[in-house]
């Protein structure tokens, strides 16, 4: 087998943490925040 389930889980957990931290570092959370605190026109069907 190429990889055990445990190895795949650990690899994915590490990838998740690294991606999250990289996204935080380059400021993606601010984009998320600014979208999330305002009325999403597309979501509610205004356009």
């Amino acid at each position: 087998m190429f990889m055990t389930k445990k190895q795949a889980q650990l690899l994915l957990l590490a990838a998740g943490v690294l991606m999250l931290l990289f996204g935080l570092w380059r400021g993606e959370a601010d984009t998320v925040f600014s979208k999330a605190i305002r009325l999403c026109m597309e979501c509610v069907g205004i356009g």
Partner: protein, 296 residues
């Protein structure tokens, strides 16, 4: 078999309460429904695990699907490592347990399914399951990334054209208290309201049609269901191959063949149906799915 002697997991036993609690926690800012405003605190930096519109007045966090599209469709970024990382962590830890226990829209569909009516099986509609992967790939990733305006910004296609949560949690409560929003609703709202209506009617006769066929978040978690730490375990020594679990499963999964099938939302209906208590929840690294592969 005497049902009182069944050793049913508290998770499965109290699933309805957990779903209600998760929906409340996800939409904790209840006074905003009366005020017609949105919560604007720090919780919105983080996304919630289930499908929950961030334009819901009570929303305590960001919608993961909406947030991903907002980042990808912005002029600054082409991909969201932040949201993908959060979703990978949610998915690897819990898999589609999130769909079965924590998603407000999943719970909404389940409540609708309790309305007395003729119920239709989805077993013959299994190919429609693959639609949700197309929705994830096309409407959530590709279109917001590629169909951009002159500023390099893309629309959140899933939120704009398909997601019924925005109407249910956003447009309806906000338009009740805000005349400006009510006046601004037009053709797009009518289209999305029709989708919501179709999902509502569909949910009464089918079990969780949106989760099965259209939800991109369910699709993402489904991809990680096989490797999630939260797993289903079938004790092959106890199993009598009666088929009661497969018959009870409303997600059309035979857990004895594939304990961690992509469609399994860990609802525990198979556990309730099993006459020998052969099915259990397990949480941990490695393969815990059956006694053949797990050494205790």
């Amino acid at each position: 078999m005497d049902k009182k002697k069944k050793k049913l997991s508290p998770l499965a036993r109290f699933r309805g309460f957990i779903q209600a609690g998760a929906t409340l926690l996800t939409n904790l800012h209840l006074p905003n429904f009366a005020k017609g405003t949105l919560y604007q605190g720090g919780g919105k930096y983080v996304c919630v695990p289930g499908l929950n519109c961030y334009s819901c007045p009570g929303a305590a966090g960001a919608c993961p699907v909406g947030a991903f599209q907002a980042v990808v469709g912005s002029s600054k970024f082409r991909f969201s490592y932040y949201i993908t990382g959060i979703l990978i962590l949610f998915g690897v830890l819990l898999g589609r347990f999130i769909c079965g226990f924590l998603c407000p829209f999943g719970w909404f569909q389940e409540l609708l399914h309790k309305i007395p009516s003729p119920k239709l099986s989805t077993k013959k509609l299994k190919p429609l399951r693959y639609l949700k992967y197309a929705v994830l790939l096309v409407m959530v990733v590709a279109l917001p990334l590629l169909a951009v305006n002159e500023l390099g910004m893309g629309d959140p296609f899933f939120c704009k054209y398909l997601c019924p949560q925005g109407v249910l949690e956003g447009a309806i409560p906000l338009s009740l208290t805000n005349a400006g929003i009510r006046a601004a609703l037009g053709k797009l709202f009518t289209w999305k309201a029709c989708i919501l209506l179709a999902v509502i009617v569909g949910s009464v006769v089918f079990y969780r049609p949106f989760c099965k066929w259209l939800c991109p978040l369910g699709a993402f978690y489904a991809l990680l269901n096989k490797v999630s730490l939260f797993q289903m375990r079938v004790d092959t020594h106890k199993c009598v191959s009666c088929g009661a679990c497969a018959k009870a499963c409303k997600m059309d999964v035979d857990i004895t063949k594939t304990p961690n099938h992509a469609e399994c939302i860990r609802c525990g209906m198979c556990m309730k149906a099993c006459p020998t208590d052969a099915i259990q929840y397990k949480f941990g690294l490695g393969d815990q799915s059956n006694t053949e592969t797990t050494k205790e």
